[in-house]
């Protein structure tokens, strides 16, 4: 029974994390479309402005990724600290 409760809690937490990441993604897209992507592209746009646009877009994306990675790390280690996870055998999975 506790296994069912644990599974439910884990799924719920990851679903909440997913909702947060989704919300952040929509925010990132909004910021990028307002501040980074021009409404109309002028053929005479200065090079510096183009560099600024691409640089800002990359910065926003990196902040987004670091944001949810930190959030996930914080959540995972909190759960593991509370007693989740098990020391086990040497066999393991491959991440790619």
């Amino acid at each position: 029974m506790s296994n069912v409760k644990d599974k439910f809690l884990t799924i719920s937490m990851i679903a909440i994390l997913l909702l947060i990441v989704w919300g952040m993604f929509l925010g990132v897209l909004y910021l990028m479309s307002v501040f980074v992507i021009p409404l109309t592209t002028s053929p005479n746009e200065p090079l510096l402005l183009s560099v600024y646009r691409i640089g800002t877009a990359l910065l926003i994306l990196v902040v987004w990724i670091i944001g949810w990675h930190r959030l996930a790390t914080f959540w995972l280690y909190r759960v593991l600290k509370k007693g989740g996870g098990h020391e086990g055998s040497e066999r393991n999975d491959s991440p790619s």
């Binding site: 506790s2 296994n3 644990d6 599974k7 809690l9 884990t10 799924i11 990851i14 679903a15 997913l18 909702l19 990441v21 989704w22 993604f25 929509l26 897209l29 909004y30 479309s33 307002v34 992507i37 021009p38 409404l39 109309t40 592209t41 691409i54 990724i65 670091i66 949810w68 990675h69 996930a72 790390t73 959540w75 995972l76 280690y77 759960v79 593991l80 989740g84 996870g85 098990h86 020391e87 086990g88 055998s89 066999r91 393991n92 999975d93 491959s94 991440p95 790619s96």
Partner: protein, 328 residues
């Protein structure tokens, strides 16, 4: 309504072709000694690891035949076939001999170039809240980047029996629903071809797996998803549908401090004991979705895959909400 025979034909044909090609692929794997050890089982079976070729054969032949029969041959269909084939070749290459972890993303980016050079894209993506935006210069640069990100994301999910296959089925079905609702026939029938092959492959790849997809399969499926989303202007929906895969990919890259081979890991993310998976408590282990799922209690491989599918369904729902309520 006239698209229904096309959708049905591409689905059935790809499923039949994939099913028919499985014995040939198994014998090919035996001859080339291409087996993978299923490390999550106590009896550690050797499983043929190039099963993804069946998906590749099923989809490619089905798309070629149905597009000729239904007069659907155009630059988008041809770009889809060439781009996905290039990704499959990269995957097959890696199945034979491990690629340099930095070279692999570069090669996958190159696989996206046929989409760019054949003009199979529409550089006016529909963005949430703000509508269409003109990206005539930036879009062709983003296509190869998207190829690398999505193919690697799908590849990163291929860690348990059926995990990549079932989560990809959820993603393809979501994209199919959006294409169908928008009345966009070419991406819809590419989706049905992919669904047909994936459903057949899932039968062989589900627990206990008799076939692994290999890099050829996961990279092919990732490239197919990217191509379909670009051809059908469903980029944002695809990115949201595969958010769990993307999160998994970036967690791994971030934890490993860049593109590195998984073989160089000092600590593995998940420990296995009596066929049960549990999260490795060590801070040196990379963060993965499977590690997060097994953090609270030990789970069987089957249970973890079921939970991954549930998470995929949540993200698919978010993609549909975004596409129909926020973008429109």
């Amino acid at each position: 309504m006239s698209a229904i025979p096309l959708l049905f034909a591409s689905f059935i044909l790809s499923a039949l072709l994939s099913y028919a090609s499985v014995p040939f692929i198994k014998s090919l794997a035996r001859k080339a000694k291409l087996f993978g050890v299923d490390v999550h089982k106590s009896w550690r079976p050797l499983v043929p690891k190039i099963g993804g070729i069946s998906v590749f054969i099923g989809v490619t032949v089905s798309v070629l035949v149905t597009s000729f029969l239904f007069n659907m041959v155009d630059n988008r269909v041809l770009a889809f076939i060439i781009s996905t084939e290039l990704a499959a070749i990269v995957g097959l290459w890696e199945d034979f001999r491990e690629l340099n972890p930095v070279l692999k993303p570069v090669l996958l980016a190159l696989a996206g170039l046929p989409i760019v050079f054949m003009g199979a894209y529409y550089p006016y993506p529909n963005l949430p809240f703000v509508g269409k935006r003109m990206l005539t210069i930036l879009y062709p640069i983003l296509v190869p980047i998207a190829f690398t990100i999505v193919t690697n994301a799908v590849n990163s999910m291929d860690v348990l029996n059926g995990s990549m296959t079932f989560t990809s089925i959820v993603a393809v079905f979501t994209i199919f629903l959006i294409a169908l609702t928008n009345g966009n026939a070419p991406p819809a029938y590419l989706c049905t071809a992919l669904l047909g092959s994936l459903i057949v492959f899932a039968y062989y790849n589900k627990y206990p797996a008799r076939l692994f997809s290999g890099n050829v399969g996961s990279l092919y499926v990732g490239a197919s998803l990217t191509s379909i989303a670009i051809i059908g202007s469903m980029e944002i929906a695809l990115l949201i549908t595969i958010l769990p895969q993307i999160m998994n990919e970036f967690h791994i890259i971030y934890s490993m401090k860049g593109f590195r081979s998984a073989k160089n890991l000092s600590e593995r993310p998940v420990l296995v004991e009596n066929d049960m998976l549990s999260a490795n408590p060590s801070k040196k282990a990379p963060i993965t979705l499977v590690r997060m799922l097994t953090s609270r209690c030990s789970l069987s491989e089957k249970e973890v895959v079921k939970m991954l599918v549930m998470i995929s369904i949540v993200s698919a729902t978010l993609a549909l909400i975004t596409e129909f309520l926020i973008i429109k």
